[in-house]
Structure formats: C-alpha cells, structure tokens
Amino acid sequence: MVQIIVIVVYLCILATLGYLGYSKTKNTKDYYLGGRKIHPVVMALSYGATFISTSAIVGFGGTAGVFGFSLLWLTFLNIFLGIFIAFIFFGKRTRRIGHNIQAHTFAEFLGKRYKSKFIQRFTGVVIFLFMPIYAAAVMIGAAKFIETGLKIDYNIALFVFAIIVATYVFFGGIKSVMYSDAFQGTLMIVGMSILLVVVYWKLGGITAAHQQLTDLFKNSEVLEQTKGVQAGGFQGWTSMPALFSKNWWTVISSIVMGVGIGVLAQPQLAVRFMTVKSDRDLNRAIPIGGVFIFLMTGVAFIIGALSNVFFFNDTGNISVVAAGNADSIIPKFLDNFIPEWFLTVFLVVLLSAGMSTISSQFHAIGTAVGRDIIGIDDKNPKKAMLITRFGMLIAIAFTILLSYELPNIWSDSIAISTALFFGLCCAAFLPMYFGALYFKKLTKTAAISGMLAGFSSSLLWMMFVHTKESKAIKISNLLFGTDTVVGENSIWQFVDPIIIALSVSIIVTIIVQIASKKELPKEHIDECFDGIK
C-alpha cells in the first residue's frame, strides 16, 4: 500500500513538471533547446540523470559484484572525462559554436560546422537506427525492476513505463525532460547517499568493510567458487585483474575505456551544453555533475563489490553464485539485506534513473528525424515540429518492440546494447566532434572519412571479432562457422571495438586531412568561432 502511494505521488509530481515544461514551450528553440536559458543546476542534474540509467546502477553494479573495485576506474573516468573535461573543453565551445551557427541538435551542430548535409543526415540516421537499441536496454532494465519491485507483469510494466515517459516528452519537449530529470536526479542523489551510508555502517565502517572483502578471497570455499574467473586473471575484489589477462582486457578496454571515453560523443548529452546561456552556467554545473556521478556509479560499484561479503556471510556463496547472474546481484542484494522501508525509496530511485535516460533518448531520436533526416530542408518550423513528433512516435514504437524482442535474442542484452551504442557513437563522431571544436582547418572530406571509417570499423569489429557482440549478432557464425575470426584462443576477441575503431577513425581523419586541400571558407570559420578566444 505504501509503495503504491509513493509511486502515485511520484507520478503526480512528474505530471506537474511535464505540464510546467509544456506550458513554457512556445517555439521550436524551446522544444529543442529549452530556449537556451536552462538553469545550471537543472542542466547539471539533467546531464547526470540522462547519463546514468537503471542499467548503469543495476547492470554495472552487478558487474562490480563479479569484477570488484577495479570498476572504480570507470567512475574516475566518468567524473574526470565525463564531467570535468566534457564541460570545460567540450561544453563551452559546443555552446558558443552551436549558438553561432544556430544548431538545435548534435547532428545539426556537426553538419553546419562542416557545411555538410551528408554529415547531418548520416548522424541523424545513426541516432535514429541505433539509439532505440540503447533505449531498449534501459527500458528492459527498468521494466525488470518494476516487475520484481511491484510484482507487475513484465510486459505490462514495459508498456506503462514507455507510455508515461513518451507523454511528457511528446508534449513538453526538452523543458519537460530537463525539469523531470532534475527532480529525478535529486531523488537519485538522496537514495544512493542513504544506500552508501547503510552498507558501510552495516559492515563496521569503510576500512573494516574493505578488509572483509579483501579477506574473503583468502577463504577456501571462495577460492573454490572463483576457480573459473581466476583462470581469466581474477585476483580478488579489491585487487586489479592480472595485467593483460582476459579479465584485464574486459575491465579496462570494454568497461572502463568503452563507457568512459564513449560518453564524450553521446548526442543526447552533447546537446545539453547548448541549453545554457553562458560559460558561467557551465562552470556552476561542474560541481553538481561531479558529485552526482560519484554518488551514482561510485556507490553502485562499491555496493556491488561489497555485496559479496553480505551474500557469503548469509548463504556461504559469493554474489554471482547466490544471485544466479550479474544482473540479479543488485536487486537480490536490496531484497535480502536492505531495510524494507528503503526498498520503496530505492524503487523510485531506479524508476527515476530509467525514466530520465529514456526521456532524453526519445527526445534525441525524435529531433533527429524532425530536424536532421526528414526535416533538414524544411523552412517551416511548424511542419518540422510535426515531423519531430511523428519521428518520436516511430522511435517509441520501435523501442517498445525491441524491448520485447531483445531479451529473446541476446541473453545479456542490457550490457551489449549499451556498449554497442556507446562504441559506435564514439568511433564515428568523437574525432570529428573534437575537430569541430578545436581545428579550424579540418576539412569536410577528412571529417566525413573519419566518421565513415570509425562507424564501419566499429560495426565490423563487433560482428566478426569481439565475441561479446559477435556471439549475439551471429553473422560471423553464419558466414565462417565461428564466433570470432581471430581464433578462439586469441586475446584480440576481448579487445573492445572502441579501442580499434576510435584509433582507425583518428588515423583516417589525419591521413585524409594531410591529403585534402579544400578548406572551409574563411567567413564560415570566422562565424563559427565568433566570440571564442
């Protein structure tokens, strides 16, 4: 009963914020960019809440239950690259150049900066085709938790969840999305802070908790249970995996580098920089972003790793054995070891994490259709808005369909889908995006070449080499009768596509830049960089 009341109050607040955003949306600039006048606190919380989804807390928290504290390197990269570097070195120039060239979306920013409709369309198509896969991953994570938390059928949970989010995005645009994000982000901060304190307190303090986890790996039963992962380089939850072992490559290249660097070229995050009115607002958003990310990923990874102590003391099994699989570690940990009153709070936290990410994804996909693919040549903003909303409806339907089907196709669908989108965006867009901000002489040809090379090499590596995806995609098996063309004993099958594809993209961009002569017109470059020292 209490749970139902809390959820109803939560949804009423969301409806109010959704209406507030809708009532303040007067034109296309409001719908796409919040009129470029979003408050820095709202922007920072929205950026963080969009960045962190249910799968980041449940999925990656569970992964920390398997690999241990080594995932904290990802938290460090998330704060240092995802907030500090992103806001100072990417955010300020994105905001200013975006304003100078009147860009409303990430794709439009790249397209107008390089004077290329092909870049804008291609970026829009990548967002439209691949972001629903990532959105479906977030939706599956949220629906699974609603299913266990509220005892509602998975299919019903999925549908209701999607419709609620779709309604406020469809009508209110980015203002509704960001107001809701800020409210949800605040709930997430409160919930994760309480969880961190409760867990450390239950284990006798910070050092005592860590020591228990360190000592756990000396236990003979634990050594027996971890025999399999030890062969892959596992050395305990408070030690790094053996250098260059299978586990080391998985943790460092896929989890730490893949997600840590991938965040810099996420369209739904980059567009946030264009919603504030000055560099001062970005400076003010940095502290909130830093604290937010620490309290989300940092706490999720610490809790995930420490869950081994709780499970072992209670059942004699380590987390992954007791829970059945990595994705179930956090839900089962909360179910068994956390006070009941807090479960309701945490259910709302995870709902918030899912909704805030999904709403931004729906908005990004819809605007990609309305502004970058179909509506690219449309001078009539009213028509472009209609196309945007139509695109959003297609995206929502596509995402719901994928959410029903993906778990049947890929058993580990949440992690695979997230890594796939992050890797693709990073390889295709990061060199070109960085060049757009810092290299006035970068030619259109070099930018397009790097983008296509990064995109295609990323897809090829996923389809034929990196076993985690190639096993799920099945094309390699169909053509060559094996999951990876580099041989099943090769270490290359554990190297994440982002490492290979980003390198290819950078090298191709540099080579073509040296070879190509035609620079963009000086007047255009001057207009782009107007006001940048």
Binding site: T25, K26, N27, T28, Y31, G68, F69, S70, L72, W73, T75, F76, I79, F80, I83, F84, I88, K92, Q102, G173, I206, T207, A208, A209, H210, Q211, Q212, L213, T214, F217, Q235, G236, W237, T238, S239, M240, S278, D279, R280, L282, N283, R284, A285, I286, P287, I288, G289, G290, V291, I293, F294, G298, K382, M385
Partner: protein, 41 residues
C-alpha cells in the same frame, strides 16, 4: 590502505574522490567567471 588489496584499486578509489573534489573546487573558484535570432506547440 583503507583495507584495499592493491595499489591499483587504492589509486582508483582515491582518484574518484579527488576528481569529485576537483570538480567542486573548480566550480567554487570559477563561480562568477566565464561570462535578431526576434526571428501552437
């Protein structure tokens, strides 16, 4: 160190906290720094 198994993990733990503090300090010190398109949805 803090009950953690090796220096690699301790470094990660410490860098998480330091980078968060770095964000806070940067924000405080730069709090006040960094200061036509007139042209039914």
């Amino acid at each position: 160190m803090l009950g953690l198994g090796d220096f690699g993990i301790f470094s990660a733990y410490a860098l998480c906290i330091l980078s968060m503090l770095g964000c806070i300090i940067y924000g405080i010190f730069n709090w006040n720094k960094g200061n036509d398109w007139d042209k039914d949805i």
